[in-house]
Amino acid sequence: MEEKKFAIIATKGTLDWAYPPFILGSTAAALGYRVEIFFTFYGLNLLKKNLDLKVTSLGNPAMPMPMPMPVLVQALPGMQALMTSMMKAKMKAKGVASVEELRELCIEAEVKMIACQMTVDLFEYSTSEFIDGVEFGGAATFLEFAGDADICMYM
């Protein structure tokens, strides 16, 4: 049977949005897919050696909150750190893997990770900030793989 291919573009760098590319990437690899993830713009944060991802309810009224809270209160200093630590505690209690763990499982399963060179330059990141094994490329690099992928997703 021909190997199936799964191409993902990861564009977001918050704690909640770190999950879809790493969950689907690692699971697809376990199911026998060849997986490539192209990280661009804020998605590049998911490739940093030191992951410091945050979550916020600002601009995201669907995020469940322990109690109703006016938006202006949600915007107070320290609220983002509080929401992030609450979310992490909740995930741990529910047996949800950490982003670090899922990323490690992707690496073990040989999921190919490509950092968008243009955004690396735009944000003046140093390539040494990223984990080992990351490749650097552009739109054409992604399209070469995505062009004959069975599934292609933008996240």
Binding site: I23, S26, T27, A30, L31, G32, K94, G95, V96, A97, L105
Partner: protein
């Protein structure tokens, strides 16, 4: 439980997609024809293991639910 197994994986308390990923790793350590027993508590694992078996060719021999735990027997292809 009737069937014998060669290896066991306790994925209790773990959530999607960890039971599948850990089962994949545990199967990699087995030889063809050997059986892995997986214990999970994630209700989503029921459908996930069916899909996993279908797509990887590893056969899902048995699936039972015992006191809130889901037990799967998977035969390596």
């Amino acid at each position: 439980m009737s069937q014998a197994f060669d290896s066991e994986l306790d994925a209790s308390g773990l959530n999607c997609p960890l039971p599948i990923l850990k089962a994949k790793k545990a199967l990699a350590a087995l030889s063809s024809g050997q059986v892995l027993r997986v214990i999970a508590t994630d209700p989503g694992s029921v459908k996930d293991f069916e899909a996993f078996a279908k797509q990887t060719g590893n056969e899902l021999l048995e699936h039972v639910e015992e006191g809130g735990k889901f037990i799967f027997l998977i035969k390596k292809a």
